[in-house]
């Protein structure tokens, strides 16, 4: 089971540089992805700031997909459990990586709470994917050399 960070889901709904890679992964795996309380505001911002003219149509499509539950589904997650796990991760890693952001930790925590095995994310300029790797999640696309260096 895969968990997609908003950077991945947004690339599937708002065309950016990562859309071709997202499309390739989706075509090969046809994953059914959890959509959580963390995704809603980030996807909304991605749509209305980058593709305002089409945002409403895409938003309706996203909601239809969630209603069907075939490509995306509303994950039943305990927000407090996600936040508490995130706090634990932050306690453990913030000293090592001072630039670790709360949103990144929350997504990794949500992935673990969803019992995901694979973490899909294009946010290579943060510590999110590196953190996911430390939590025994398989990160896709694979970690870059810069990210791998952060693990040392």
């Amino acid at each position: 089971m895969s968990y997609a960070d908003t950077s991945f889901i947004a690339a599937a709904y708002a065309v950016d540089v990562n859309t071709p890679d997202a499309r390739r992964y989706m075509a090969e795996e046809e994953p059914r992805l959890p959509f959580t309380f963390l995704h809603w505001p980030e996807v909304a911002k991605a749509l209305w700031t980058n593709h305002p003219a089409l945002a409403e149509a895409v938003w309706e499509e996203l909601k239809d997909a969630l209603a069907d539950g075939q490509t995306l589904y509303r994950a039943e997650l305990d927000a407090d459990a996600v936040a508490q796990r995130a706090a634990g991760l932050m306690r453990h890693y913030a000293h090592r990586w001072p630039k670790l952001r709360a949103i990144d930790v929350m997504h990794v925590s949500a992935a673990v709470e969803c019992h995901a095995k694979t973490f899909l994310s294009f946010d290579t300029r943060s510590y999110q994917r590196v953190l996911a790797h430390t939590q025994k999640l398989k990160v896709w696309p694979a970690l870059t050399s810069e990210e791998t260096a952060k693990l040392k």
Partner: protein, 77 residues
């Protein structure tokens, strides 16, 4: 509206009549039920179809990763 007057080969027709009888139907009522069930089935939504739909919008690609950039701009470093 006539929908079900479909010509099929002899063997298929015989098997269908047998299957209808086994289910307590006439061939026509079984056919009606199958058509009704098929029409009620939701269309299978796939990522492939989703991307075809996205293509049809003609959305202009933005030359950066949207979410990575918006997180950086949000100020938490």
């Amino acid at each position: 509206m006539t929908l079900l007057q479909t010509r099929v080969d002899e063997k298929t027709a015989r098997n269908f009549v047998r299957a209808a009888k086994a289910r307590g139907h006439t061939p026509y009522s079984l056919l009606q039920e199958l058509v009704k069930d098929a029409a009620a089935q939701p269309k299978r939504r796939t990522w492939k179809k989703h991307f075809e739909w996205l293509d049809s919008l003609g959305m202009k690609p933005v030359p950066y990763g949207i979410v990575a950039r918006q997180r950086e701009e949000d100020g938490e470093r």
